[in-house]
């Protein structure tokens, strides 16, 4: 596919103990994940290899720190790699050593020194009522801090549902005039809603910027297509049961144990965009519907009011009965990751991905990364792609069997 990096990159890779072939395979895959032509792989390789640590200012407003905790759960790359190798997390109140005015100094230095070159991440909503007195940081209204930091950033990531549209503090009954970040800052804003965000989507967004110098393509709500282009429903393992009309009727009934569809228990998956069912959470361990509870629609606008009450189908915004819903087309859509079968970089797709161990052993946990950070990030992208592709193939196979509805117990 025409990748021919210069000798400098190759020797750098060798020096870091990684085979050139392996690194290029990762880069090819991240390119595929981002639905870009294969020729961009060289650019991914060069960008990830040479990138200095990206300065990040992470602000917390009306938040619960759930997205911060999500960041700590990131697996590819791991959080220690994110903190030490990929990013320069210059301001993050939960993690930084400095406190008080010294902390603010760290933030102000980055805003000045790296103007238009750092990324602002905002977690939590921004209260506007009464001049913003419901969230004060360093004695100042949070909205002033958001504007100051967001206006000078290369771009801003609104992480989680509260920063997206006001989230929980902005729900009905909330007295603080809580809003999301879009519209408050001058630069571009990428929204990563979810309660909280899946950290793999956060790192993928940052890698896109490191590689291409711009944030990923988004939908009308500012949500990246690579993560929010499909609905949760389309890659759900209970979809065959949905099509066969096998629905759970009561918590813990036979159907519930057997993995049947949670539609009648209130699941909002059919109208919720997200890749939860494809990439899952916590190193791909599980996701809510697999564990046994319906989706609550946390990536959708105003979900606390629009999707609740969560257990009934007749909420403020009732969904169509299942019969009337279109059956999703399981084939990949143009905006989704594409892995051409003939590409030499697809040998890893659908198979276990070579990469760092999921859990570092005491002997290598804190040492230098076994592979360059770029390779780890790209490896994560491979895994995401592989999960999506695997799921789609599985669904296509299951489609054949799921033609006759069965009785519910």
């Amino acid at each position: 596919m025409g990748v021919d990096p210069d000798a400098g990159l190759a020797s750098s890779l060798v020096a870091r103990g990684i085979s050139r072939r392996r690194f290029l395979a990762y880069c090819g895959s991240v390119t595929a994940t981002l639905a870009l032509p294969a020729r961009y792989a060289t650019r991914v390789a060069l960008a990830l290899q040479d990138a200095p640590r990206l300065a990040v200012v992470w602000l917390n407003g009306q938040d619960c720190a759930g997205n911060t905790e999500a960041l700590l759960r990131g697996a590819r790359p791991t959080v220690s790699q994110v903190i030490l190798d990929l990013l320069s997390l210059d301001y993050h109140e939960v993690l930084m050593a400095a406190a008080g005015a010294d902390a603010e100094r760290a933030r102000d230095e980055t805003v000045t020194r790296f103007a238009k070159r750092y990324v602002a991440v905002v977690e939590g909503s921004v209260p506007l009522a009464q001049g913003g007195i419901h969230c004060l940081v360093g004695g100042r209204p949070f909205v002033d801090v958001v504007r100051e930091v967001g206006d000078s950033a290369a771009f801003t990531i609104a992480v989680g549902s509260c920063a997206f549209d006001g989230g929980l503090p902005g729900a009905a009954g909330g007295p603080t005039g809580a809003v999301g970040v879009s519209g408050l800052v001058r630069g571009p804003v990428v929204n990563l809603p979810g309660c909280p965000v899946n950290p793999e989507n956060l790192t993928a967004t940052i890698v896109h910027y490191l590689t291409f110098g711009e944030p990923p393509a988004t939908d009308a709500q500012g949500r990246p297509l690579f993560a929010y282009g499909d609905t949760v429903h389309e890659h759900c393992e209970s979809l065959p049961h949905y099509r066969a009309r096998r629905f759970v009727r009561e918590w813990g009934d036979q159907g519930h144990r057997a993995g049947w569809c949670l539609y009648n228990m209130g699941c909002r998956g059919p109208s919720t965009p997200g890749n939860c069912s494809a990439i899952r959470f916590n190193e791909g361990t599980s996701w809510p519907v697999a564990a046994g509870h319906g989706c609550v629609g946390c990536t959708t606008p105003r979900f606390w009011d629009a999707m609740s009450p969560f257990y009934t189908r007749g909420g403020p915004r009732p969904l169509e009965p299942p019969e009337a819903l279109p059956v999703p087309d399981p084939r990949p859509r143009p905006a989704a990751p594409q892995i051409p079968a003939e590409s030499p970089t697809t040998t890893t797709a659908g198979a276990p991905v070579p990469g760092p161990p999921a859990v570092a052993s005491p002997d290598d946990g804190g040492g230098g990364p076994a592979v360059p950070i770029a390779a780890v990030v790209a490896g994560g992208a491979v895994a995401i792609t592989a999960a999506v592709i695997r799921r789609r193939r599985q669904l296509e196979a299951e489609d054949v069997r799921d033609t006759e509805p069965e009785e519910t117990p």
Partner: protein, 561 residues
């Protein structure tokens, strides 16, 4: 007399401002201000009570899961539902994993940098570090491992981009560990990052994800459970849980406990500082066995008197708002509680709040009229005074090894030790509870939810309930009033509201305001000592908020950090 403001206090969850008055190198007075308000209790009104846990869980993403548990317990209490034993086991496993993960993250990532000088670690001798490591634990740690960590940190520091370690108090005389101990703890800081990511996978198995696991329901757990269930809790995932529990226990016993002991030995004066109120309360939690007896018992210890345990009755809990940014003056029980925010503090930017009557978004909870401390030390003190068969020997052994008396427990270091000790005990219980769950799955004992009260038509016109949880940071209570199938009132009284409360109507300080008094401050511009005592409470502000205000008065002399 110099007045100092630290805002934002970092390495905590949420938004906290601390003002202190220092005279003669010692803190003479302190004011704790929660500076963020969301109005969760107002948002919960008129919702479906079965939905309440989804909302309430968002009180905090650090102590995730605990508010969900308190919420379903409150609604179950109101509706008279008893959950099946499996649901109790699943909830115990999730709460125990949460507590272990939270305590380890607190020690290494939120608190250790008050005791560990990262820059000093770059000068350590890896061979001597390995020797030190081997002398306190059999946890693997070879010299070349420490050399690679040291070099990695050194490269990081030399890059000039210190990231989260920028502007720390490195080189402050209060840092007393040698370079090797610093390197050892920095290495474990990094290992703990990976460890916590692994152990919370138990929440993904049982709850679908973490943070904010999503399988609670009123009546039990919405968990797919069966030996051959395709997902959820099946034979394979029981095995994964057992492995996670083993790894959790191993790290807590072989890394956390020895490291805490190392820090405690190196900072002996901190077993005498930060003593605080001396009154402790716990609701008790982790029901187990046929009688659902809580593993950590409920009770109160007053005046540091370990010979006597007093009972706890939720009816004695009230919240004051006289010094907080809410309408009203008196104290109310949570069932009658109100949340009517009214900021009457100074126009921002804020100079000082210390002279203001109202100065925090936190309310001031009091028990039987008095301020109490909640948290790991409270649980440990009550368990110890109750003669707990596991707690007493564990506490005595640690105190004996360090060579201090029981009074050392009531201190900044005592809080840290209590957190580590209860982690060790709970790790053992975690292994046992996972084994119980495994036996249930294997034996086809699969009831995990009681749906008899699921239909709102089965509810009374009015019901009241409360749910208590011992969260990592202490005693958590949710109170709910249900009327005509909707939430009529919902109040949370959370651990940090107890510990970080402002003064009450009688002017009595909250727990950490009190503990800060008497703390030495060597360098007014770098008050690391204040952070030590504050962080020993593991502040977590988001859920604590309910503010407090100040009227005109003298400004602060310094805003420091």
């Amino acid at each position: 007399m110099t007045r100092i403001a630290i805002d934002p206090v970092t390495r905590i969850e949420g938004h906290l401002r601390i003002e202190i008055e220092v005279e003669g190198g010692v803190v003479r007075d302190a004011w704790s201000t929660g500076t963020m308000f969301r109005g969760l209790e107002l948002i919960l009104r008129d919702r479906d009570p079965r939905d309440a846990w989804v909302f309430a869980q968002r009180a905090c993403g650090v102590c995730t899961t605990v508010h969900a548990l308190a919420s379903v317990r409150a609604v179950e209490h109101a509706l008279g539902v008893t959950v099946p034993p499996n649901a109790r086991r699943v909830r115990n496993v999730m709460a125990a994993v949460q507590m272990l993960q939270d305590h380890v993250v607190h020690f290494y990532h939120l608190h250790a940098l008050d005791w560990v000088d990262v820059v000093s670690a770059t000068t350590a001798d890896p061979v001597r570090t390995a020797a030190l490591a081997g002398s306190i634990s059999d946890w693997p740690g070879a010299a070349d491992h420490f050399a690679s960590i040291r070099d990695r940190i050194k490269r990081f520091v030399d890059s000039g981009q210190l990231g989260p370690f920028g502007h720390g108090y490195w080189g402050h005389p209060a840092y007393q560990l040698g370079p090797e101990a610093n390197l050892l703890l920095v290495a474990h800081y990094l290992e703990a990052l990976d460890w916590q990511r692994d152990v919370v996978r138990a929440h993904a198995i049982l709850g679908g994800k973490n943070p904010h696991p999503q399988t609670y329901v009123v009546g039990g757990m919405a968990l797919r459970m069966g030996p051959s269930s395709p997902t959820g809790l099946n034979t394979a995932t029981v095995g994964q849980l057992a492995e996670i529990a083993d790894r959790a226990r191993s790290f807590v016993q072989r890394v956390l406990l020895p490291d805490v002991e190392l820090v405690a030995r190196s900072y002996p004066e901190w077993a005498r500082l930060g003593r605080g109120l001396g009154n402790y309360l716990t609701y008790g939690d982790f029901p187990e066995g046929a009688s659902s007896r809580p593993y950590f018992p409920a009770g109160r210890v007053l005046g540091r008197d370990l010979s006597r345990v007093l009972p706890v009755d939720q009816a004695q809990v009230v919240e004051h708002v006289a010094r907080s940014w809410y309408e009203g003056e008196g104290a109310r029980h949570p069932f009658e509680g109100e949340t009517r925010p009214r900021y009457d503090g100074p126009e921002p930017p804020i100079e000082s709040l210390a002279a203001s009557t109202r100065y925090s978004w936190l309310k001031a909870p009091r028990y039987d009229g008095g301020a109490v401390e909640v948290g790991p030390l409270a649980r440990l003190a009550v368990s110890y005074a109750s003669g707990h068969a596991d707690v007493v020997p564990a506490v005595d052994a640690l105190l004996g090894r360090i060579g201090v008396g029981r009074e050392a427990l009531f201190s900044t270091m005592g809080r840290i030790a209590a957190r580590a000790l209860e982690s060790g005990l709970l790790a053992d219980r975690l292994v046992a509870w996972v084994a119980e769950l495994g036996a249930a799955v294997a034996g086809n004992d699969l009831a995990v939810a009681d749906s008899t009260r699921w239909d709102p038509a089965s509810w009374p016109a009015e019901a009241k309930g409360w749910g208590a949880v011992e969260a990592p940071r202490g005693s958590l209570g949710h109170w709910v009033v249900i009327r005509d199938g909707r939430v009529a009132n919902y109040q949370l009284v959370v651990p940090t509201t107890w510990n970080g409360s402002p003064r009450d109507a009688e002017g009595r300080r909250g727990a950490w305001e009190e503990a800060l008094v008497g703390t030495p401050v060597v360098d007014l511009r770098r008050p690391v000592e204040v952070l030590r005592t504050l962080h020993s409470f593991d502040p977590c502000m988001a859920c604590a908020v309910h503010v407090h205000d100040a009227s005109s008065g003298p400004g602060v002399d310094l805003r420091v950090g």
